[in-house]
Amino acid sequence: MSRSLVSPSSLKRKRPETQLPGLVDAEHAILNLIKSKKDLGIWTREIKLETKLADNVVTKSVKSLLAKGLIKEVVNIQNKAKKTYMAVEFEPSKEISGGEWYNNGELDKQLIDALKLVCFRYMRMQKVATLEGVHNEIKKNGVVTFDISSQQIGEILNSMVLDNDIIEVKSTGLGDYYSIPIGKTCYRVAGGAGVAKGPRMGAFATIPCGACPRISFCTSDGVISPSTCVYYTKWLGIDF
């Protein structure tokens, strides 16, 4: 069977390897190609393009390699429709898998929410907490089954900061911060004004126009206008 391999480098890679028993040349070529992609994986169409093998050959070989446990299929977060294959010895890179927070191509919201809750409760008790403190608490708590890193906890905390549930501050060494070195980043539960409360901050957001998705179409005498606005009618509680 004639094969034409595209890059000379893959040829080079092929020679030093001893032929794995039970693999035909096609499977070998494909396996090597897949291995060369390491943790990025490769999808079917690309395999076909790079090896220039016939469609059915590729399909058959991939199936065979899968059955032999030499490659595995992974979900590609970038494009779930693309069947991506990877050598078994590699773990999908963050680009493909989406990272530690993705499970089977989807964001593991349950896990994230659970972690957020534990962090928040701890901080509410402590008033002020450092990253290390929270990390230790999570590990102690046993809420996760895997070995969660400090960096991952940091990501959770940052997300909570973005939600304005907690705020990031620097320790002054005074008051509540007495046990924390000056200048160290720590976190505390956000004060009551988490999200624009009160008339002055929320003045715009609490009227219909502030939340209106059609504000750019609204004119004083157009089809969408304050006089005819249904959001206003609802907000004012009038129906006469």
């Binding site: 990272g99 964001l107 409360k197 008339p199 126009c209 502030g210 004083s220």
Partner: protein
Amino acid sequence: MVSPHGIQFAAHLISSFYGELCSKVCECLLRRGTLTLAQIIQSTELSRENVINCLRVLIHQNCVQAFAVQREGAFGEAPRIVTQYMALFNNIIHKLRAPKFMQIVSEELGKDGLMQHGRLSLKRIIDRNEQTAGSSDIHVVRESFIRLLNARFIERCPAPEPFLAPPAEDEAPAKRRGAKSAKIAEPKTTEQRALAAAAPMESMRFLMEMDDLPEKNDDESSDSVTHRKKRKQDVLKSDEDVLDANDKKEVLWRVNFEELVRRLRTKACISYVKTKINDEAGIVLSAILDLSGRPESRQKAEKTAYLSINAIYDEVIKKEGGLGMDFERIRVSLNQLGCETLSTGLDESYSIGTHLSSFSYFNAVVESVVLRRYGREAYRVFRLLSKAGRFLETDKISDSTFVEKKDAIKILYKLWKDDYLHMEKVVSSGARQSLFLVWRVNKQTLWEQVLDEMYHAALNLRLRIAHEQDRGKEVLQLPREKLVGELEKKYKLLGKVRVILESSLMNLDEAIMLFHDF
């Protein structure tokens, strides 16, 4: 240039207060910038007489400023002096705040109905007071006047028609020297120069000279006619000049919006800090601002002078709720407020930004809008970009905010379409050429966009108020006895609706005032 809805809102306000014609003239100036009389006439297609009358009203009400410039003659003609008119957008919007201003004045100085109208000379103030209060004691009026002046609630009116000399010859070579030197001395626009030229000198602004005070009621002041309408006509004397000849001689006084806005802003600042941090921080901020007093010049001070911890403490304990505070707690508050410290030896002093922008008010407003309009995930995305202050790539955004990548794209696109974000496409070079989208919040354009929306909302509120009043006018016109059963319910509902709309407008107006300060 004022934003589109800002213009509409201003025009609407002028129309409510001074009629359609004035509104047309005003809108023309706001849209087209500074114009001459001839240009206004041409643009509005109103008669010359109407335009002149409108300009007089608008100038009197401090909504328009006139100034004279020299125009080069065409084809060898001698240069001539031409009068131009510019709209004063901020002052127009202040009309909406008149009740709040009156409240501040009466809180500070007790009931004082002196300055209700555009601009008046002291003589006219006394005359007017005679009619309304029935008393002819000019000493009482004079004293009130001085109190208002000392509190800086009133100021000298700007010059009615200052002359702007053409830019000096030596400015031109500076520009030629290159972009660098031109940047150092940013040339003022004509409008800025006009306002600067019109403004009284700082030393004179709040100064009343002795001969300004009339000794007795002159019979000659035949302006002491009883009818207010006639009085207005006196000011708007019908001659060719837009400006009343009298105006040019007498010292005229008007409400000092700057001071009132400053006070409103300070109040709002303290209240905002109390909500955002806690009461103690509010007390400390109030103490600091009191100690700092008002900025001496027209320039807005970026931050206060450095104040010692002792001075701050002394001021804090005077305040309500401040007596129990000690140095330690004050320091904590100062830290929370983001004060800058300066510690030299035994001295410990602090300085703080004087604008709400120091307390991320701008962010708070915009973020609350994003949350309500686009949802919680969009809120996180927006906050991330806002804090980052630079371009971030889609994946990075999605990772940091725990938003699914496909959802992140949708959110980013929506925000971008509504002008809340900037977007750029980046093509990465290398073995794999891929297209990345990067996103960023641009504070300047965002501020303009949101402010415009706020004006739009304010206009909408006013239009809706008018609409509801119109719809319910039959019920509103009924005498009280007839308001029973269904009609009574309707009446009450109308009242409730009005309260909601008007209080929302008041709150929104305050938010606009603070937001504008950014």
